[in-house]
Amino acid sequence: MLVRAGAAAAAAAATTVPGLRRLWRGGGSGAAACFPLGRALVDVRGAEAAPFLQGLLTNDVTRLVAGDGPPAGALPRALYAHALNVQGRCLYDVILYRLHESPEEEPHILLECDGGVLDAIQKHMKLYKIRRKVNIAPCLDLSLWAVVPGERAGDIASSLTKCADQALILTPDPRTEVMGWRLITKKGVNLSEIIPGSRIGNIQDYHRHRYKQGVPEGVKDLPPGVALPLESNLAYMNGISFTKGCYIGQELTARTHHMGVIRKRLLPVHFSAPLPKDSIPEGAEISTESGKSAGKFRAGGGELGIALLRLANINEPLCLNLAGDKVKLTAGIPEWWPKTASK
């Protein structure tokens, strides 16, 4: 069963295979690459799947699930959200995918999460399930990929819609355009049958891309019980609704949004020299040249990473305090942030 993403599918009637091959031909930074992701998929299905998830996640699940509103073809296929704890701190960053087509079918949602929390997130969901008519089970026969355009990517949208039946889901990453597309296939499928001419990328390049763009993903970037959703740019990544009803952790989040000022955010940082792997303790202090505290390192690799930084300090030269040494770094505002987000 082929599931196409929204309007792009309708517009792609004129796409030709040669156009697709031109986009993919030749590796390197120009072409797009498919990355097999180490993220887990959880199957959530049942009559009450949507209201069940609605009470657990920051985003409005009714935007994803066909109801009495717009026809299924106009609804997005994927939705980004966080599950928070009662205190309003991040627990799990998830992407939801709608598998069912119409309101008449039993709701069937796939939930993507960090591979390391597959058991924890199922336990979390089962704790709050009580009597809801919903079944939760790990999805072990599907593969999840990220399709990320290179620097010279052209109109990838129309090219990618020309794909074979073996793609279950092919949809723009709901967080930001710079993350390209998400692809879900049956396990063991030959990717070049789905996207002719595609190349499989090294997962380290995927993480480098995320850190360069400042897109946090997984428990290392968003430590459960530590990270705060709004500081983690959940709103910039289309992961939260401020007009929906109650979900776990809503009170602090809504109050911060309506009354508070967000002074710190996760930002991409670039070190002057690559740091040895796993050498930086999470939470290592970052300070300005005059020694004032500017934030904390969160995660990264090589010369790239993300850090929780005070917005007031990001245009100054900064340094990371590492066991007595000071490593210089610069921070930047990601291009994909909303233009009003300069402060």
Partner: protein, 154 residues
Amino acid sequence: GSWCPAPLCRGRALPRPPPGPACAVGRPLRWASSFSQPGPTESDPSEGQVFLSESCVKRLLEITEGSEFLRLQVEGGGCSGFQYKFSLDTVINPDDRQGQRGGARVVVDVDSLAFVKGSMVDFSQELICSSFQVVSNPQAEKGCSCGTSFSVKF
């Protein structure tokens, strides 16, 4: 603050109470009820029971018609993790447990009962709103500001 709607499942909507006086301080809460499982099987005392306050009984006698009773359910979700849901219902299921006092009935399914056993159901009348509330739940820890949602002591 958060908005906590109280959607009703089956049965008809709980009727709006007439505007009443502000809640009286020190209202005596005497409760005694029999809590049992409908049907021939013995009810298991370890499942727990729920108590009804005087004001709850009074209000239920005012609003219930025929075989209607007050159903209390616990759902996952809500600001603090779990939320109470009240509705008027007429259908009793095999896994329901019921308590009665003074002719008023409250029914809780066995899964929800695990979260509310030992609690009292009260009808609280304030200037800002009047509603059925679960009060003094021994299982509950901090809740949300409007009282609909609660988290559980582990």
